[in-house]
Amino acid sequence: MTAAAEAHPHGHGRGDANLHPPPIHYSSRIAPPIVGIFLFIGSEIMLFGSFFTVYFFDRVAANTHPWPPIDPATGHPYSRPVFVALINTCILVTSSFTMHWATQSIKRGHRAGFQAGMVLTFLLGLTFLLGQVFEFLRVGFNTSDTSFAATFFGLTGLHGCHVLVGLAILLVMTIRAFRGHFSPEHHHGIEVGGIYWHFVDVMWLVVYTTVYIL
């Protein structure tokens, strides 16, 4: 962003200045798409933070019994599908690896690896989401049963919605990959989409650890 004092820093005064809009000038070190994803992730952290606040309030402040609480319908503690969720966790973590592989491949100009990485990431994400739907159908309680059930579905469902959005992004990226878009020099869309997918993965690790294990 260094501009000579004598020069016109915005490109005004050129002969073709009237033919084109002046070039956008912004910080050379933080591109607007990156700022956008930062703001987005910041708002997402606040959203998840509010759900976690409710969860911990219900678990720590409003709960005087062991956790998970007793299911009034069965008289036994709520059973969380830890094993299915563990399989799902492995699937989602693997999808981060394939996403990283895809990004590294396009950076090196290896299009086949890029395409394979995108397809695998999408399929793994889809498997995760279907696994979560399967888990919801068989979990044995519903959102309106107790506050535990509400916070459980709230946190995992909120994350599931993010996976769904991520899948839509991955689908667009995968289609573009097969249409020949992106190159070692121009792959910003992959970077930003990849950042979002890794963010979804990190949030799941936090949700899984908090809701299923601890």
């Binding site: 260094t2 820093p9 910080s27 996403m99 990283h100 990004t103 963010f199 690790l205 650890t209």
Partner: protein, 214 residues
């Protein structure tokens, strides 16, 4: 200043891996005893916070090519903010310019963090240019062969940019006195000495005492 871990896809992926390790250690501690898990969480969080905040302070030296200017010619890089027209700075440069040294004055386009992140640089560029012109006029009046540039809002980045185009033999950084200088608070002079393999001179300009125009 701590660095955002989601700057690139590769860094976000690394963050995923670190989150796995972070969460796994907490879970293992929790399996031993909930208090051990809490202790692991506190220790890990403290270590991560310490690492994030200290890593940003470490400066890696910037590799430099030999200066491309003719042997015998001496070049001085001056980096200054509002103090750019201070008499102490002009005097310091005058002392060094007895045999036709070339001087490049870089005036960083100082900006608020909010405006920096939203790429609103117009006002910062105009202000920096006005300061620079005042400084150049003062130096030329003192018989110094100086030219100037508006630089990056980060003074260290501005120096690094100038190193590549001007290849100075020495750097002079001008700041407000301690207690009033944001640059000193951020350790700009110390970090410049760590990062650049060049003599770095620090000049303090007290504009309030001197009554110099800003």
């Amino acid at each position: 200043m701590p660095r955002n871990p989601f700057r690139t896809e590769a860094e976000a992926f690394r963050f995923v891996l670190l989150t796995i390790v972070y969460g796994a250690l907490i879970v293992i501690g929790n399996k031993i005893d909930p208090w051990v898990g809490l202790g692991v969480f506190v220790v890990e969080t403290a270590v991560v916070a310490w690492w994030i905040f200290t890593r940003g302070r470490r400066e890696r030296p910037v590799p430099q090519a030999p200066p491309p200017h003719p042997a015998g010619e001496r070049r001085i890089l001056v980096v200054a903010n509002e103090t750019v027209a201070g008499t102490e700075l002009i005097d310091e440069v005058c002392r060094r310019c007895r045999s036709g040294e070339k001087v490049l004055v870089v005036s960083p386009a100082l900006n608020s963090p909010l405006k920096h992140w939203t790429s609103d640089l117009d006002e910062a560029l105009e202000d920096a240019k006005a300061r620079l012109e005042a400084s150049l006029a003062a130096m030329r009046a003192a018989g110094i062969d100086a030219r100037g540039e508006v630089g990056d809002s980060d003074p260290l980045q501005a120096i690094e940019d100038a190193l590549r185009t001007f290849a100075p033999d020495e750097v002079i950084i001008s700041t407000h006195p301690p207690g009033r200088s944001n640059w000193l608070e951020r350790g700009v002079v110390e970090r410049a000495r760590e990062r650049f393999a060049l003599p770095v001179t620090h000049v303090v300009v007290d504009l309030e005492a001197a009554g110099a125009p800003t």
